[in-house]
């Protein structure tokens, strides 16, 4: 290969006789090729690789991009259902919507930005949001919401660093989302020592696209001729090696260079300009491919666009708009400079598209050096070639790029969780509820989410904190809404990954059903430790089994007899420092559909005299409860979950909302029935002079179980005149339904206990306790 005479290869055939030594040498220079990959690359190319090729394949075959340890396991998840238009494999999943929005499609994406956020919380979290909105944007969608599921170390025992990560991550998410003009639609947060050294920052994005205007990440059919157009920030060295950084343990040394630089201001202008290009493409019926630049930068984006379209590519690095300082070819090719997209456009339209970015939206003025430039051409010959000055720095068969990698990892399943040891210890229930509410894991999240703009775009119907899910309208003049909620209890997944994963899906779907929406699609992110450890792979396989079994049982409200499909997701491994891996953390987003937003059901109480009805599993277990863990110091596995019963419960919740029989609904989760009733009496109720008068004698169980058992259930507010039809529908679904009280004209929570004594919590007492934890976290300094 004459073209290579000028450049020294990354390693020679002779050196490759000792692949382990070559791998060690490459690692020092930030290239992550495993020994067997050193040999494989030599065979695929038929010659020693150039530096750019070694970097490219190091990224393509990294755990982050190739899913090599898990791809074959992910097939267990159900991904097919009538509403799925684009399943896993592209940047985002796409699902069809029912009338009156059959002309529109819902786009969902879910990613993790864990390592970068642990290192640089503000930039790491901000670029996580920046990346996930690109994944949705590149499908031709308008981004209408972002959510964040966060797992942090313990703010007190983890000391100042843990608190700084919390404050930095929330600031990064707020600064990016607020400036971009995308509303934050909730999520969740958990604090535990096992996340001290490895926080989890999962970000999710939601978009709306015309159903017949979805853009795919590939060269379209037809012979073009097609060109690649790179749009956005000038390429620099930031984030170089980001994919490799995410595919290994957080090392000592200074890895901050691998964290990318966010710019929501430029992104906002890019998204407005993208919308104009979408409009013209659709108006003129022009085919196009579109992809965001994430891991692996220009190399991964252009190679995947070509490979997915079954074509080759010729990329000229000289054409890239870049920073003035000289950069080596492999950095230009693989750096993860933020805020960039890559189009595949017919050559005839390329100039017009570049004019939109460069002239109409004056990218150069918005960000010095930003532009839209043609950087290469699609080739019919299935070769991927990259040139730099007079050299060919990459020349490989397209198949090598899409070959993918698989690594068999031994797995060892965890022994079943020890049962909760029997105990008759019962701290004073009045103080117990206040202690739980004042804890980091059950307290109010209001202090946190008021940093976020949850109203921009004017679509928000149910805001964070107002219901078990958030709801936005899909089209300003139509009543169809989309509900969003996340699920995933790290304590349950740590004690029993399979059952814990079932609960993750059930909880997310139940939250969506509580507001009256039909669970429609799922996304997931699997956050685990080192794949080289059999216990980690065992937990992962068990979690996948649990996610699959629950999804297969809970899809009936969208399509009878169909699963709830996973349409997009991500795997994040190496969330481990030394021996301490994060608890197995499958985090699930459920998107639901409500045909008429005026039927949406919030959490807060509505009318004096209405009944409160508990529907679901009996209060007979304390295992897995926050009460047992935080007040009794006992763990045990998760509470049991009957999926058929859960499906019936969700069916009742949706039917009740659509029939307008219920005026409030809130599920029983962390902290049990006591926390559920407290939260219902705190929301909008005090402002409306409403409270709860409960009588738990009907539950026929002792106080501790009645108040703090976390077995799945929902509390509904039902008008007396609607109660008969409500109880009838519950009976038809063989659901247990207990009338546990009424809405009273006195704010606060008053409960008559099974034993006959009564407990009283004032609204102020509850609000003060619930607000304490996060307010103190943000204001504590020192130690």
């Amino acid at each position: 290969m004459s073209a290579f005479t000028g450049l020294a290869p990354a390693y020679t055939r002779e050196e490759a006789r000792d692949p382990a030594a070559v791998a060690r040498g490459l690692a020092v220079r930030g290239v992550a090729l495993e020994p067997d990959e050193v040999t494989l690359l030599l065979e695929l190319l038929g010659r020693p690789p150039s530096w750019a090729e070694a970097v490219l394949f190091g990224i393509l075959w990294s755990e982050h991009c190739s899913y090599k340890s898990t791809r074959h396991l992910l097939h267990r998840l159900p991904t097919r259902a009538p509403q799925v238009l684009v399943g896993p494999g592209e940047d985002a999943g796409v699902v069809a919507l029912p009338p009156p929005c059959e002309d529109l499609a819902l786009v969902l994406a879910h990613e993790s930005h864990n390592h970068p956020s642990q290192l640089l919380p503000v930039e790491g979290a901000a670029t996580g949001v920046g990346g996930i909105v690109r994944d949705v944007g590149c499908m031709g969608a308008e981004v209408v919401g972002v959510l964040d599921a966060l797992r942090f170390g313990h703010p007190r025992e983890g000391g100042v660093p843990a608190r700084d990560i919390v404050r930095g991550v929330v600031q990064g998410i707020a600064d990016y989302g607020n400036a971009l003009g995308v509303p934050n639609l909730g999520g969740d947060v958990t604090f535990d020592r096992r996340f001290d050294a490895n926080c989890l920052v999962n970000v999710m994005a939601v978009g709306i696209a015309p159903r017949d205007g979805i853009l795919r990440s590939r060269v379209p059919e037809g012979n073009g001729p097609w060109v690649f157009v790179l749009v956005g920030k000038p390429t620099d060295e930031s984030g170089f090696g980001g994919a490799a950084f995410a595919s290994g343990e957080l090392g000592e040394g200074d890895q901050r260079g691998a964290v990318q630089i966010p710019d929501p201001f430029l992104k906002r202008v890019l998204h407005v300009a993208n919308a104009e290009v979408f409009r013209r493409l659709r108006e003129q019926g022009i085919a196009a491919g579109f992809k965001d630049l994430g891991a692996g930068g220009v190399a991964c984006a252009t190679s995947e666009l070509a490979a997915a379209g079954g074509r080759g590519a010729e990329i000229a690095l000289d054409e890239l708009h870049r920073v003035a300082r000289p950069l080596p070819a492999e950095v230009l090719l693989c750096a993860e400079t933020q805020e960039r997209y890559c189009w595949v456009l017919p050559e005839a339209f390329a100039a017009e598209a570049c004019e939109i970015y460069n002239r109409d939206f004056a990218l150069e003025v918005v960000y010095p050096g930003a532009a839209a430039r043609v950087i290469g051409r699609v080739q019919e010959e299935r070769r991927y070639r990259v040139t730099w000055q007079t050299e060919t720095v990459v020349d490989c068969p397209v198949e090598a790029i899409t070959a993918g990698r698989r690594v068999q990892r031994p797995a060892r399943r965890r022994p079943p969780a020890a049962a909760l040891p029997p105990t008759t210890a019962r701290p004073d229930p009045h103080r117990a509820l206040l202690t739980l509410l004042a804890g980091f894991n059950v307290g109010s999240r209001e202090y946190l989410f008021r940093h976020y703009d949850s109203e921009v775009q004017g679509r928000t119907w149910l805001r964070p904190g107002e219901g078990d899910a958030t709801v936005v309208r899909v089209h300003p003049e139509r009543r169809l809404g989309v509900a969003l909620a996340v699920g995933g209890n790290p304590y349950w997944c740590a004690s029993d990954p399979e059952l814990g994963a079932r609960h993750a899906v059930a909880e997310a779907a139940r939250n969506v059903a509580c507001v009256g929406a039909r669970p429609w699609a799922l996304t997931d992110c699997l956050n685990f430790g080192h794949p080289e450890e059999p216990a980690v792979m065992g937990d992962l396989a068990a979690s996948l089994e649990g996610l699959a079994v629950a999804a297969e049982a809970l899809g009936g409200l969208a399509n009878h007899g169909e699963p709830l499909p996973f349409v997009s997701g991500n795997v994040s491994l190496y969330n481990q420092t030394g021996a301490q891996a994060v608890p197995p953390s499958p985090i699930v987003l459920c998107a639901g559909v409500v045909r008429d937003v005026t039927t949406v059901v919030a959490q807060s109480l509505k009318r004096v005299g209405d009944f409160l009805v508990l529907v679901g599993e009996p209060r007979d277990q304390l295992t897995g409860s926050v009460y047992a863990r935080e007040l009794l110091g006992l763990e045990g596995g998760p509470p049991s979950l009957d999926l058929a019963h859960e499906a019936a419960l969700q069916d009742l919740a949706v039917l009740a909302a659509e029939g307008r029989w219920v005026t409030a609904a809130h599920d029983v989760s962390d902290g049990g029935l006591a926390v559920t009733l407290a939260e219902m009496s705190m929301g909008g109720a005090p402002a409306r002079g409403l409270g709860i008068e409960a009588d738990l004698g009907v539950l026929e169980t002792e106080t501790g179980l009645a108040l703090f058992s976390e077995r799945p259930a929902i509390v509904f507010e039902v008008a007396p005149e609607r109660a008969p039809v409500f109880f009838q529908r519950a009976r038809e679904r063989s659901l247990l339904a207990w009338p546990i009280g009424t809405v009273s004209a006195r704010p606060g929570l008053r409960t008559l206990l099974p034993g006959g004594e009564s407990l009283i919590w004032s609204a102020e007492e509850l609000n003060t306790a619930a607000a304490a934890a996060l307010r103190d976290l943000w204001n504590e300094v020192g130690t």
Binding site: E455, T460, R463, P476
Partner: protein, 249 residues
């Protein structure tokens, strides 16, 4: 007379232009996004102007500072001088204050300083209560003084203040504070979160002497549908919403 057309001025970095156009059209006006790269002269052809919320020019120097120097704002000042209505919402309000169009007539007198809140700093989002005050303001002409309205606020720098002590109070006395943050029962309140940012005299908006230029921090374009109102809102507005929802509108 054809329907008057409002230019929604799109500086780079604004992000509320789409819902602002929708709100103007629902109010019976015509509206169009005016991109900052269009030739400034074309702006004169519109009958009114709206500066939407967002982060124009990335809040460089100060929120609204760069946009205030944009040639388009010079034209807005001239058209406002001729009596055309100019409404600045959130970031748009910051631009009008930085350009001295509000309170008008005397250069830059006010600032929208960082929110002052107990136990927290930075960006803050909430639905608050505002009360209509007696004022020559064009935009509140259809509402009688004393009317209570719930509106969403979302900003990091919304505290109306002035380097001249007593200036804000004098503006209020002159009727140039047409909306004030109040408690749910309508009584004036300096307490957070009724007053979400510590604005002097509880100012949620300030207009010029003539009343045709208004700098407004809350976002009315986000409160177009009764059903989407925050669930924490009680009183007659909540009853109005519940009746509307029961009727399905």
């Amino acid at each position: 007379m054809s329907v008057p057309c409002v230019a929604v001025v799109q500086f780079p970095g604004v992000n509320c232009e789409a819902e602002s156009v929708r709100a103007l059209r629902r109010a019976g006006l015509d509206a169009e996004i005016f991109r900052w790269t269009r030739s400034p002269g074309e702006l004169r052809g519109f009958q009114g102007y709206l500066l939407p919320g967002g982060f124009s020019y990335q809040d460089r120097v100060r929120a609204g500072a760069l946009a205030a120097k944009d040639p388009l704002v010079e034209i807005l000042a001239a058209e406002a001088e001729r009596g055309k209505p100019v409404l600045g919402i959130c970031n748009g309000a910051q631009v009008l204050v930085e350009a001295g169009l509000v309170p008008g007539g005397g250069g830059v007198e006010l600032a929208l300083a960082r929110n002052r809140m107990p136990d927290r700093s930075g960006y803050y989002t909430r639905w608050v209560w505002v009360r209509i005050e007696p004022s020559p303001c064009l935009f509140t002409r259809g509402l009688s003084a004393g009317t209570l309205i719930p509106l969403p606020v979302a900003h990091g720098e919304g505290r109306f203040t002035s380097s001249t002590p007593g200036r804000m109070a004098s503006l209020a006395a002159a009727g140039q504070v047409p909306l004030r943050y109040v408690a749910a029962d309508g009584t004036p309140s300096e307490a957070f979160p009724d007053n979400p940012n510590g604005a002097e005299v509880g100012a949620a908006a300030v207009c010029n002497g003539r009343g045709n230029v208004l700098a407004l921090m809350p976002h009315p374009e986000r409160a177009q549908d009764l059903g989407g109102m925050a669930r924490s809102i009680g009183g007659p507005w909540a009853e109005r919403r519940d009746r509307a929802l029961a009727g399905g509108d």
